[in-house]
Structure formats: structure tokens, C-alpha cells
Amino acid sequence: MSDDPAHLIVARDLTIGYGNRIVLDRVNFTVRRGEVFTILGASGSGKSTLLKHLIGLYRPVSGEVLISGENLVEADGADRLRILRKFGVLYQGAALFGSMNTVENVRLPLDEFTELSEVAKDLIALSKLRLVGLESAATRMPADLSGGMQKRAGIARAIVLDPCILFLDEPSAGLDPITSADLDALIKELAHGLGMTFVVVTHELASIFTIADRAIVLDPHTRSIVAEGPPAYLREHATQPWVRQFLNRQTS
């Protein structure tokens, strides 16, 4: 399965948890190149934890995560850096460095990992800021930006080294509907215009139906994936009633 180049991320028999607590038990799924893949589930179902395992921050209890056929957790040194360069991450709180202004935040990966000239680095960082609509906020400090602007700056920083995958942890959480819709439009533009692959953790229904090509739904009770497929299809045809309820926003 994982040898297929179209399968960008493969989770195989992945068991994750904290200490003795198992959050997900032997799950399998595949993220295909160029798609917007969403991880859905109720609060506490382990969505963000799963994401942190996909990006190699945590080591799984058992099983493995392969990014382009390579295991990030097992890799070290130059190999690890090479795999890390394939993806960018937007954290829930944007995680901008408070001591640097916006353009310095975006420039940081260029400063650390490339030999480019100052002009080139500034031009690239500013082009990414323009891409996310933040060119006029380049010299502002993160603390002076609104939540939505911080997230967009976080995306600009995540894509500055041209990764092929972007992981987004709750991109629309805490944003107003208009800002949230703008962010969805940006994700679609990056995905369809530039062919980037997205893995998005969210429970914003509006976002799910706008951006997602495919979704998996996590169930905290069975600690497994209970549904997988395009969200619009799952809304009508999921075998589990609560998945249909979840996607139709009905009370239980």
C-alpha cells in the first residue's frame, strides 16, 4: 500500500495513548497526494493527539506512520530534517514567536535552512504574507495581531519552505464566521492551486463541507475510526447513527 506514490501519509496499525491510557487502538488510514483530508470527532476523541503523532512529536505505542514511505519517529539527523522539510504545521494557537515581528517569524525557516541572500529571503517571506493577505502587517508583533491574522501568519510560516503537506490543528477554532470562511478559501486555494496536501483537524461543520475531500471520524468509545469517506456522503450514508448526527448537527 505505502509503496504507491499517491499515498503520501500512511498510518499502519497505529496505537496511540498517554501512559496507560489508549486513545486510538490499531487504526489504519491513508492520506492521498493532493487531497484535503480531515480528522473529525467529538471533543476528547484524540484528534489533536493523532495529529501530533502524524507529525512525529509523539512516539506511538505501536504501529507506524509513514510520510512518503519514511518513518519520521525512527529517523534522526539529516534524514529526520529531510522528512520534516516535507511538511508545515499550523498549531492551534498559531505558535508565532512573540519576540519577533510577523515577517521575521515567516523568515525564520529561510534564515535557518537556506543560503539565500537577505533580499531573496525578504522577498519570499513577503510573498507568503501577501499570499495569506497579511502584507500590510509584516512589521507588526504577533501580540498586536487578531486571532485570525495570527493563524494566517502561522500558515505563511508553515509554507515558506514549500512543503508538500500542511497539517492544520483546528484552523478555524475561535474565529468569526467571515474570518473562518476566508481561511477556508485560502486552504482551498493552496490545495487546488498549488497541489498541496492538507491534513486538517477540525469540528467546524461549515469548514468540513467546504474544504474536505475526505474525512475520518474518530470514536472515543471504541477508540477507532468509525467512518471514512467524503463528508457529504458520510452525512447521509454513514453506518453509525451518531456520525450522521454529528455531521447534521443534531442533538443526541
Binding site: A120, L126, K128, R130, G193
Partner: protein, 380 residues
């Protein structure tokens, strides 16, 4: 046609300059983060001074091009490497063209023109003085509020959250005993050693015992105990309250109609006031215990040493030490809490307020101690 210039095996180009300065630059290979820096420098050198009036950059034959490559194409396209020439980039696919449009010279110039405001010396002095006066005012208000709440708690002891007082007592007091004991023991020992040498020349080594008793009781006992309280517990108060402020817990208290001073700070200040004399007694004892082995080593019998220490001390010395410790305890606890409440925003805020709590506490302890010394000297 000039020969093809190869900088890196991954990226090549052909430059042909026709009559009248019309030039075509054909790029091939991979123009990415690794190859662009070298290509940038080489192309700049090659293009400048060639008398090019019109430059067409043919990018359609590139096998790959990332943001770094696009930055180079953009720079070529603006004509900044061929001054006076018109330049354009052709042959890019729609995706890359879209990305190329996000580059902007105006943004770059705006960034270069951005100059952070540097205040003048006078503005800076003014701002600092204003901030200092504001801080002083806050301190006075805070001391007033804490005192008022302490008085209220004295008359209505049921309103005090005693459980919290005892928790602070345990954390800042009982748990601090080993380190206070160790440090003052060592300080007592050092004093005895250092004093023994000059006093030996006068044949008055037994007076090391008097010195030890007096310094530990009147000065070092209370000062060491309260400095330890500032470093160990005052910093914890500031960090705890600072984090609560960052998490909006203090706002939550206020909107519930609870005063943060009444709810969180009075307990800590009361604990500080009650605790420091206890720590001080402990510090005095271990300081003296630290000096005794030195005196025994000098050949004085234990009974003689103890009698000498007792003879050199009066109850007024102990009272002075105790009174100081109460004042120092109140200062450390309230200043640390104030610094915690003053925590600003941002990732460094809690660290800053912790540092400020320790610095302010120690400064005020020494300052108050100096005032005490001057007053007691004048009263005698």
C-alpha cells in the same frame, strides 16, 4: 552565441544578446532553494554591464521551481539586474504564475523603509520616571488595600481562607527549613572562622561567641531568612499569580465580585508575616550551631561558649531581630504578590514579574534593614 554558463549541475542557462541589446535568457533544470543562491550571484554578475535593453526570461524549460527560484525570476523580471532594461518572464505554468504575482517590490520597499521608533533620551527619562511614579502609586494603593483587608480578617477571622494560609505555611515554611538551616549553618561557620583570626591577635578569641550571637540574632538571622523567603517562595507567589493573570483567572474572580487581594493575597501576606519569625528563630539557632564547632576547635569548652553567647545577648536584641523579621516577611510576601498582579502580556511576562519580585524584595529588605540600623543607633 555565448557559451552556456554552468553553475551547478542542477541548473543551467543560455544567454543570447542580439543586436540592439535585446537578450533572451533560457533557464533549464531545477531552480530551487539549493541552486538559487549560486545562480543568483552568477546571473547578477553576468547580466550587469552587458548593455541589455530588453530581457526575456524563458522559464518554460525549468524542470522544477520553488519559492526561492521564483524570487530569482521575480528579481530578473523587475529588471534590477539589468538596469534600464525592460524585462519579462515567460513560459511559467499557471500555478507558478499565480505564486509569482504574490511577490511585490512595494512590500519589500515598505519593509526596508520601516524604521522602528527610537525614543530620544529625554522621552526615555520621562517615560521611565512616569512608570516609576505609577509603580510607586500602585505600591502605596496595594499596601493600603492589603492592610485594610488584614484588619478586616482580624475582626472577622471566619472570612479568612485558613486552608490556603496553612498551605502557604507548609510550602514556604516547613519545606524551606532544610535549605534555611544549611545556609545559615554555613554562614555561622564562616563568620566564626573569619572573626577568629583578627581576634586571636588581640587575644580575644572568646568574643567570637559574642559576635556570632549578636550578628545572627540582630542581622543575619532575619535577613537570611527573608532573602530565602524571597528567592524560594516570593518568586513562586509572583509566578503563580502571574500565570493566573495570564489565564484570566484574576478577571474571573473580579467578575464574580471577589477581590483578588481578599481572595488570594491576604493569605499569602499573613502567612509571610507569621512565618518569617519562625524561620528566623530557626536561622539564628543554626547559625550559632554553625559557629560552635569552630569555637570548640579553638579549644574553648562548650559550657563556656554557651555562657559567653548568653551573656552577650539581651532580650532587646532578640526583640529587634523578631520585629525586623515580621516587617521583612510582610514586605517579601506583599511585594511578590504585587509583582505577580502587575504581570503584563506575552511569553516573557511571567518570567519578568518573577525576576522583579525577587529583585524588589531583596532591595527592600536591605533598605529597611539599613533604616533599622540607623534608627536603633540613634535611639541608644
Amino acid at each position: 552565441m555565448p557559451p552556456s554558463d554552468i553553475v551547478s549541475p542542477d541548473v543551467q542557462w543560455d544567454l543570447s544578446v542580439g543586436p540592439g541589446g535585446a537578450a533572451t535568457l533560457v533557464l533549464r533544470g531545477h531552480l530551487d532553494t539549493n541552486t538559487t543562491p549560486g545562480a543568483w550571484v552568477a546571473l547578477d554578475k553576468e547580466l550587469r554591464g552587458r548593455g541589455i535593453s530588453r530581457l526575456e526570461i524563458e522559464a518554460g524549460k525549468l524542470a522544477s521551481c520553488d519559492s526561492a527560484g521564483l524570487a530569482l525570476l521575480y528579481e530578473l523580471g523587475t529588471g534590477s539586474m539589468t538596469p534600464g532594461a525592460t524585462a519579462r518572464v515567460t513560459g511559467l505554468g499557471p500555478e507558478l504564475q499565480h505564486l509569482l504575482r504574490s511577490f511585490s517590490t512595494e512590500d519589500y520597499q515598505a519593509l526596508q523603509a520601516h524604521d522602528p521608533i527610537h525614543p530620544t533620551f529625554i522621552e526615555e527619562v520621562g517615560a521611565k520616571t512616569h512608570a516609576w511614579l505609577g509603580d510607586l502609586r500602585q505600591q502605596v494603593e496595594f499596601i493600603g488595600e492589603v492592610t485594610a483587608d488584614l484588619v478586616v480578617s482580624f475582626f472577622y477571622p471566619r472570612r479568612m481562607r485558613w486552608r490556603e494560609v496553612f498551605r502557604v505555611f507548609e510550602n514556604a515554611g516547613v519545606n524551606a527549613l532544610p535549605i534555611v538551616a544549611l545556609l545559615t549553618f554555613l554562614v555561622g561557620m564562616v563568620i566564626a572562622f573569619e572573626a577568629a583570626q583578627p581576634l586571636e591577635q588581640l587575644g580575644a578569641q572568646i568574643f567570637v561567641a559574642n559576635l556570632l550571637g549578636l550578628t545572627m540574632t540582630k542581622e543575619l538571622g532575619p535577613v537570611m531568612a527573608s532573602i530565602m523567603l524571597a528567592g524560594r517562595s516570593g518568586s513562586a507567589f509572583a509566578a503563580e499569580l502571574g500565570t493566573m493573570k495570564v489565564n484570566e483567572e484574576l478577571n474571573a474572580l473580579q467578575t464574580m465580585g471577589l477581590s483578588p487581594v481578599q481572595f488570594l493575597i491576604v493569605q499569602r501576606v499573613l502567612a509571610g508575616i507569621l512565618l518569617t519569625p519562625v524561620l528566623t528563630v530557626f536561622a539564628i539557632y543554626s547559625g550559632i550551631f554553625g559557629g560552635i564547632p569552630v569555637l570548640l576547635g579553638l579549644g574553648f569548652p562548650l559550657k563556656m561558649v554557651l555562657e559567653q553567647i548568653e551573656a552577650g545577648l539581651s532580650y532587646s536584641d532578640l526583640a529587634e531581630g523578631m520585629f525586623k523579621s515580621v516587617v521583612f516577611g510582610g514586605i517579601v510576601a506583599s511585594v511578590s504578590c504585587l509583582r505577580g498582579l502587575q504581570t503584563g502580556e506575552g511569553p516573557r511576562a511571567v518570567g519578568d514579574s518573577t525576576t522583579r519580585s525577587v529583585v524588589s524584595s531583596i532591595l527592600l529588605i536591605i533598605l529597611t534593614d539599613a533604616i533599622f540600623a540607623a534608627l536603633t543607633y540613634a535611639m541608644k
